[in-house]
């Protein structure tokens, strides 16, 4: 190397000045010692790099969320037939429009129709299968978690299931040819391996969720409520009376008592924190925190002098042991705690 051009066109030199690490330090320090006559060029090159400032703009506040919402919403609307986006100027839905579409678009439309048909037929094949299933009853597998326990399993088709605490799943050791059926009590997250010939069905108390390949969370832990949150793919949920489909980002809240439902958005971290080992409270009352900790750690919590205590507690505890959680909570909320094997006492 002779002059600053050589340094400033050398990607590794630039990287060393801007984002140094041990390896680069070692290399360039050694190089410097071996070439003392280059020192002043090297310094000048370094100075130019460090002084160079590029104009920088931050997006206006709120733009990031606004664009994201638009991006997610548009996908939902375009989901049944994304091919009509380039067809803005045509009449909305006429035979002219249909004829004007290319061959590919027709295929897309027909595919959508056949999926719907698949769901309609699904209950029928299930009925036909019933006697057959009864004969092979002994090959069913049941997995149960207690308080403070979680479990991950992989089913025979490769589908992954994360089972939250106090939950239970039952499924055949090997799925049949017509469908893949699993029943659930409690809460689980599924990542279903795609198999368009065998729909994957999750049976909960009142609802049946049918999918072809997708990831979603089913939660029946709150009594009388079923929540199904969809992360990707598409699911069809049916009760004895009605049927509804979800698109990614949507959560179905079903009230088992009145058989009513609504659909809302959801926060991935809130709904799926449990799966990644994050204990989370949001504006929780003392009772909710107590029950949450009991469930998460499988302990019994006793309260002393708690009369008149009114909590609205929010906090997030990734991968922490009970003692760490209590330590940080007691610091904020001012109480003493004592852990005695499986019994914890909080004194206010």
């Amino acid at each position: 190397m002779k002059n600053i051009e050589d340094f400033l066109t050398h990607p590794e030199f630039i990287r060393w000045v801007k984002r140094p690490d041990k390896e680069l330090d070692a290399y360039w320090n050694q190089w410097r010692k071996a070439n003392p006559e280059q020192l002043s060029s090297m310094r000048l090159a370094k100075e130019i790099l460090l002084r160079t400032e590029f104009d920088h703009s931050e997006p206006p506040t709120g733009m990031k969320d606004e664009v994201l919402q638009h991006v997610l919403r548009l996908r939902e609307r375009a989901a049944p037939s994304s091919s009509n986006i380039g067809e803005k100027h045509r009449p909305k839905w006429t035979w002219i429009f249909w004829d004007g579409l290319g061959q590919m678009s027709r295929v897309a439309a027909i595919l959508v129709a056949s999926f719907v048909l698949g769901w309609v037929l699904a209950p029928i094949s299930q009925v036909n299968l019933e006697p057959h299933l009864a004969q092979i009853e002994e090959t069913y597998i049941q997995k149960i978690t207690g308080k403070g326990e979680k479990m991950q399993l992989t089913l025979s088709d490769g589908t992954k299931v994360w089972l939250n605490s106090s939950s239970e799943v039952t499924f055949p050791e090997k799925f049949g040819n017509e469908n893949r059926e699993i029943s659930l009590r409690g809460e689980a997250y599924f990542e279903v391996v795609r198999d368009s010939l065998r729909p994957f069905m999750v049976q909960t108390h009142d609802l049946q969720t049918t999918v072809l390949g997708t990831s979603f969370n089913v939660n029946t832990k709150e009594s009388g409520k079923t929540k199904i949150a969809l992360l990707s793919g598409k699911v069809e949920v049916s009760s004895s009376q009605s049927q509804v489909s979800l698109v990614p980002g949507e959560m179905l809240n079903f009230d088992n008592v009145n058989a009513t439902f609504d659909i809302t958005g959801f926060s991935t971290s809130q709904v799926l924190g449990w799966k990644d080992g994050v204990l989370r409270f949001q504006k929780a009352s003392l009772r909710e925190v107590k029950e949450g900790l009991e469930e998460w750690y499988g302990v019994e919590i006793k309260l002393k002098n708690e009369k008149g205590i009114n909590w609205q507690f929010s906090g997030e505890y990734p991968q922490q042991i009970l003692e760490e959680v209590l330590e940080s909570m007691s610091y904020i909320k001012d109480f003493d705690y004592q852990i005695n094997d499986k019994v914890v006492t909080l004194t206010f």
């Binding site: 600053i4 051009e5 130019i48 790099l49 703009s57 479990m151 992360l231 990644d276």
Partner: protein, 203 residues
């Protein structure tokens, strides 16, 4: 059937499980792959990670907030629609930079009624040497910095663009060649070398 049981404090098994939260993807390649396979968390993760740098880059190409916003929105919608047809990448930032640049330059050319020059940023990217930086062994005087900045302003848009990719974004010559639509890596190096030599003559 493999069954794994774990407690909240049992860290080892958590590693195998954590896949959804931002920051949980082990590499750009795995996040991108998950996105292409329809994983919505992967999309959100990518969006959250890169929105700010993409906006900053877009604004450097076209200093108009609403134009950049529309381009970003269209780009993300388009990526989601075509996700199963997208290629692999182990550098998401670079991949998205290419998409955004193409989109912005194409829009710009359409307004201008032009069809050529799809790869050039119309006015180049602006930068200057700062007088303020406090360095231990300072060699540049205030006078030299003024001269250098005048020289930078005179550089062609392409030369300013290549310095930006190299100094600021840390792109490799192969990546710069691709994003600037240059002939080969030698021409890319030459362009960078000429730009720096022009500046060096000022000192």
């Amino acid at each position: 059937m493999p069954v794994k049981k774990f407690l909240p404090s049992y860290l080892e098994s958590e590693k195998a499980l954590s896949i959804e939260e931002p920051g949980a993807f082990s590499s750009d390649a795995s996040a991108w792959k998950a996105f292409r396979e329809g994983n919505e968390s992967a999309f959100i993760y990518i969006y959250e990670c890169y929105f700010h740098v993409l906006y900053a880059y877009g604004f450097r190409i076209m200093a108009d907030s609403s134009v950049v916003k529309d381009a970003l929105q269209d780009m993300f919608i388009n990526l989601r629609e075509r996700r199963q047809y997208l290629g692999d990448t182990d550098d998401i930032k670079f991949y998205l930079f290419k998409c955004l640049k193409r989109r912005l330059i194409k829009d710009f050319s359409t307004w201008q009624g032009r069809k050529e020059g799809l790869e050039a940023i119309p006015e180049g990217i602006h930068f200057a040497l700062s007088h303020e930086t406090q360095l231990i062994d300072q060699q540049l005087t205030g006078e030299k910095i003024v001269k250098l900045n005048a020289a930078i302003a005179q550089l062609s848009p392409r030369k300013r663009e290549i310095i930006y990719y190299s100094f600021y974004e840390g792109l490799s010559y192969a990546q710069i060649q691709e994003i600037m639509g240059l002939e080969n890596q030698q021409t890319t190096r030459n362009l960078m070398y000429k730009a720096i030599r022009y500046l060096r003559k000022m000192i």
